[in-house]
Amino acid sequence: MSPAAPGVVTFVMDGKDVSARADQTVLAVAREHNVAIPTLCALEGLSTVGACRLCLVEIAGSPKLQPACVLKATEGLNVSTRSERLDKYRKMIVELLLSERNHVCSVCVSNGHCDLQSLAQSLGIDHVRFPYLYPSFAVDASHARFTLDHNRCVLCTRCVRVCDEVEGAHTWDVMGRGIRSQVITGLKQPWGESESCTTCGKCVQVCPTGALSEKGKSVAEMRKRRDFLPYLTQMREEHA
């Protein structure tokens, strides 16, 4: 017996009735209806982790905010994707990200092509209210083709997921806890010495900032190409 097709549910998004498959997330439904919800860790073709909390939405009758990327569409749900409270939290999250590492757009390889920068611009962030931490991170340039700069990392784990889920190498992981978390290659060895890395470069392309970049790129030259990801995922599903 084949599994039953997911049912159709109807719920309210920003005061409007919308229909969705029961296995869809609120974020997916929002995108289908051209409702903009800011995201950072979410990327089509990768699993969702709900880590960055930028896609938080309000649910009528609940004091808790829920991340739209993992919140499943359910019958009778009533969500708001924009409110003063959400705007406030989203701004605060991006400001905290900016204060946590050393993000200097003007001299970054990803200047003008950066998800974090675009987010800050779209949220109207013209200054950061929190003191900068100015951590001291060395650049890992041990890989022949790519560079890892922790100063620009936002710990979205897109690199970890694409390497594990799509490439199947699981070279990347996260070490430490909380503010001391850090992405690592292998068992925290220099990237160039990692035996599992296949040098496929998927991690570089999905990285939202200039944390992972191709060697030889000068300031503002690193443009990420991500079209391969949904295409690759779809092809694999079809040929599974």
């Binding site: 001299v107 340039a141 000068s218 300031v219």
Partner: protein, 474 residues
């Protein structure tokens, strides 16, 4: 009792500075010091960065001459990559550097110095600026603005933006020139030529008015350093560094990578600006000058008709090297003409639209030096990298730094003449400032400072007590 006079801040220059004049017991000026009071630290905080980021990172040193830093830094990176930049890449880099020289010289001559020249050094300080000039002589002010716009627009057409284009990169430039932009650049040249020529026409006959300034503002024999092409002509991008003695003879010619053979660097605890000196003479005797004065003393000419004519007229002023710093204003006008002619020649070169403009490579050498002529003089970027291409050490010598000893000497010379009986007079302030301004120093570049540049003179007793003070806002 000896005293110190302090001028703080100094106005209409790029950056922040103060001057102290040290008087002896007879109220005679004994010493003069130009204090550069900000610290920036680029050489230190670039350590650990990938070298491919360096040109745009170093360009952030200055919003006036970002292109000069892009050029010198990219050349240092070319050396780290051990590549030969494609011909068209070189032509395009040269073109942008020339546009930078034109716009910066226009800023120095028209916006910063022409108020002194046309309104008089003793005119009302409140009106002695580009706006005061516009009220009295709108045609000159308009020309200044138009010429600067020409240079800035040329930079924008090549690099996409006027300030901090990230277009000059290690190995070449990031995108070729389009036919449309080439034509737009060509169309903008005639107006720039017209401005340069008519400015020389009104400025040269004005010179007799400044006999006193020419005689007293930074007028002394010295060594000079400048880049020259293989024929000994004016050069701003490639070529060797020439050392010229006070008699005008070239005594050394070295490859850029060997700059440390001739230049030593000293530091003093009262200024953040280093004191480079000519090693052969030691410190502090090894005073030398760079910039328009030095370039025009070192070069045989430009190799282009209009500039060569203007150059010949300029050199007629003295039998031998031109020694007064005041003549740098005149020198800038000659250089603008030469730059425009070279820009014209580059645009007429059939290779200019070639799309091969960049060489790609990783780290192939552990050390690289890049040298170019910035508007204010020779600019040197020197980097060392580890085997992964991360910067381990950086040294910069900025044009204003080369001129540090000369500026101090020029201030002392002016102060000795204009400070009488320990009295602080506005006329003296103006002249001391004018000496500095003739070098068009960029202190934000040279110390690596932030902020506007305003002048403060202090008179200080031997014990350090401030006896008198004059202060002027920006």
């Amino acid at each position: 009792m000896s005293r110190i006079i302090e001028i703080d801040p100094v106005t209409r220059i790029e950056g922040h500075a103060k001057i102290t004049l040290h008087l002896d017991d007879n109220e005679e000026v004994q010493d003069a010091r130009l204090h550069i009071t900000q610290f920036r630290g680029f050489e230190k905080f670039v350590e650990g960065r990938p070298f491919h980021e360096m040109p745009s990172l170093m360009a952030r040193i200055c919003g006036i001459c970002p292109v000069s830093h892009l050029v010198a830094s990219a050349k240092a990176c070319d050396a780290l990559m051990a590549v030969r930049v494609p011909e068209t890449g070189v032509l395009l880099r040269k073109f942008m550097n020339l546009a930078q020289i034109v716009q910066s010289h226009a800023l120095s001559f028209f916006h910063l110095s022409s108020p002194d020249l046309l309104l008089g050094l003793d005119s009302d300080p409140a009106k002695r600026n580009i706006l005061g000039l516009a009220a009295v002589n709108p045609a000159v002010a308009r020309d200044g603005i138009a010429l600067r716009r020409f240079g800035q627009k040329a930079i924008e057409l090549l690099g996409g933006r006027r300030v901090h284009p990230a277009w000059i990169v290690p190995g070449g430039v990031s995108s070729p020139l389009t036919a449309e932009n080439r034509d737009a650049l060509r169309a903008s040249l005639p107006e720039a030529f017209a401005i340069a020529e008519r400015t020389l026409e009104w400025f040269v006959p004005l010179m007799p008015r400044f006999v006193e300034e020419i005689r007293t503002l930074g007028q002394f024999p010295s060594h000079y350093m400048a880049m020259l092409d293989e024929n000994g002509r004016w050069e701003h991008y490639a070529g060797k560094l020439a050392v010229v003695n006070p008699q005008g003879k070239i005594v050394r010619e070295i490859e850029s990578a060997r700059y440390q053979d001739v230049i030593g660097e000293a530091v003093e605890d009262w200024s953040y600006l280093k004191f480079p000196y000519y090693k052969h003479l030691g410190y502090p005797d090894g005073l030398y000058r760079v910039g328009p004065l030095a370039r025009l003393n070192a070069a045989k000419g430009f190799g282009t008709p209009k500039a060569d004519h203007a150059f010949a007229e300029y050199r007629k002023m003295e039998n031998g090297p031109v020694t007064s710093s005041f003549h740098q204003h005149y020198g800038r006008l000659v250089e603008i003409l030469g730059a425009l002619e070279e820009m014209q020649a580059i645009l007429d070169d059939p290779r200019i639209l070639d799309t091969r403009v960049r060489a790609e490579a990783g780290a192939n050498a552990s050390e690289g030096v890049g040298m170019s002529e910035a508007p204010r003089g020779t600019l040197i970027h020197h980097y060392k990298i580890d085997d992964r291409g991360l910067i381990t050490w950086a040294n910069l010598i900025i044009a204003t730094g080369h001129n540090n000893l000369a500026m101090n000497k020029g201030i002392l010379q002016a102060a000795k003449i204009y400070v009488k009986a320990g009295k602080l007079q506005e006329g003296m302030l103006n002249r001391v400032e004018a000496v500095i301004r003739s070098y068009d120093p960029c202190l934000s570049c040279s110390t690596h400072a932030a902020g506007a540049m305003p002048l403060h003179i202090q008179l200080v007793a031997p014990g350090g007590a401030v006896l008198d003070e004059l202060r002027r806002g920006a």
